[in-house]
């Protein structure tokens, strides 16, 4: 079976000369849920943008990123973007349509579905994310938690099999975080979650990758990595309190 995501010696330099990624390599099997950890500016968001083909500006011929065995090229970019859903860090960047319904329908309409199919899909995903009946609401009137769920609905409406989530719980209150985590747990897709929310990583991700200065500095079982205080402190992270209450072999019982 092909890995869902395969990244080989990926490097990227921003136009201002900042080296954001350097020799990043890893692969994810279908259905995996992986935490992408690291301090601010370590390259997490840049890496996620590569998975969806937003970066580099022109896909290279050699293809350092493969999705289900297929290298990202200019020709297959639309198909890659349909399969890899990207949830942006700031919901206001992602919710660009006036109403929830129009925003969620944006992706399916780009796929060329009929209006009836688009409407059906919108309703299905709104129910899935807990926003049933909110379709006519203005996106700028939603609470932060609702904005997050509307963003997720927009991504799910494209029926992506891989979700790249950029700090999905960063500005949520405890209840919003709890609900969003429960929602993510229900979604059957390969997930890459870039986050500083270490509790979320412990609860959802069996595996984690630690990035620092654009390089992979650790890749392994979440509990082992997060339990390594020296490693955590060396890379701007910390051992989460939740680990004190987690049985090493039953991480999902943590609460």
């Amino acid at each position: 079976m092909n890995p869902a995501v395969e990244v080989t010696s990926l490097g990227y330099c921003y136009p201002d000369g900042t080296e954001a990624l350097c020799g990043v390599s890893f692969s994810l099997m279908p259905g995996a849920c992986v935490g992408l950890l690291g301090p601010n500016g370590s390259g997490k968001s840049t890496l996620l943008r590569h998975l969806n083909g937003l970066l580099p500006e022109k896909p290279p011929a050699d293809g350092n990123v493969r999705i289900h065995g297929e290298a990202i090229t200019a020709e297959n970019l639309p198909s890659i973007r349909r399969r890899v859903g990207l949830l942006f860090q700031n919901p206001d960047d992602q919710l660009f349509c006036p109403t929830v319904e129009e925003d969620v329908a944006f992706g399916p309409r780009q796929l060329g579905l009929s209006e009836a199919a688009v409407a059906a899909r919108v309703q299905t995903v709104l129910v899935q994310v807990g926003l049933a009946g909110q379709d006519r609401r203005a996106t700028h009137h939603l609470s932060q938690g609702e904005k997050r769920r509307a963003c997720l609905a927009g991504v799910l409406a494209c029926e992506a099999s891989i979700l790249a989530l950029d700090e999905p719980t960063s500005d949520l209150d405890p209840r919003g975080r709890r609900e969003f985590k429960a929602l993510l747990r229900q979604i059957d897709a390969t997930k890459v979650i870039a986050t500083h929310d270490l509790e979320l990583v412990v609860e959802l991700c069996a595996r984690s990758i630690v990035l620092d200065h654009g390089r992979v500095v650790a890749d392994g079982a979440t509990l082992e990595l997060l339990g390594n205080e020296e490693l955590m402190l060396a890379h701007g992270l910390e051992r989460p309190h939740i680990l004190q209450h987690v049985h090493p072999h039953h991480p999902h019982e943590a609460h």
């Binding site: 943008r49 969806n52 937003l54 639309p78 973007r81 349909r82 859903g85 990207l86 942006f88 700031n90 206001d92 960047d93 992602q94 919710l95 660009f96 349509c97 006036p98 109403t99 129009e102 944006f106 992706g107 780009q110 796929l111 807990g130 909110q134 006519r136 609401r137 203005a138 996106t139 700028h140 009137h141 939603l142 609470s143 938690g145 609702e146 769920r149 927009g154 991504v155 494209c158 209150d173 209840r175 919003g176 609900e179």
Partner: protein
Amino acid sequence: MSDAPQDRNPMRAKPGSRGVFAGGPLQRLPAALKLSAALVIIVGTVLLPVDWIGCLAGEGLALMLAAVVSRIPFLILIRRLAMLLPFVFGVALAGMLNPGGGLDWRIIAAKSTLCLLTVILLSHTTPLGEVIRVLQRLRVPGLLVTTMALMHRYLFVLADEAGHMRRARASRTFTRGRRFAWSALATVLSRLFIRASERAERIYDAMCARGWK
């Protein structure tokens, strides 16, 4: 999952209609009818002969009456008009300086004001989302409609950002010097421009990520 902030402002007709006032008969009319009527009024005002002053006065009265019936507060109407007055004076000045012979600036100003009043009435009685849907049905070029929709979506976000920056500036402003105030304002505006431009890039990325071609 009920962390929805309820919109407690009774003046708002319904979601997606920021700035629209609820409750009047004009609000209940179909958006297509209101848009057509506004277009007819604007074109009619522009084409009206300059010596039909009585007609202009009657039109002004009718528009004011429509505003009252639509329950739009008079103060808000005046405030919106005042914001747009520089454009009115600009057009009037251009008319005065017309090389083909100076036009009566008062007539030009009156006509411009009536046209703006019509647009203000339309925008305060019809959610922009409905106007956009009518434009889509009329096959107005998609790029224009998308640009309008994005402007409507992000105008409020930018206004909020400007408010945040203004408050942040005020919290650390310890002098009343006018020169300093102007230079601080210029800084805020330039930062706002940069933030808007960076946000535009992120929005474009978000559109591309969901299949925008």
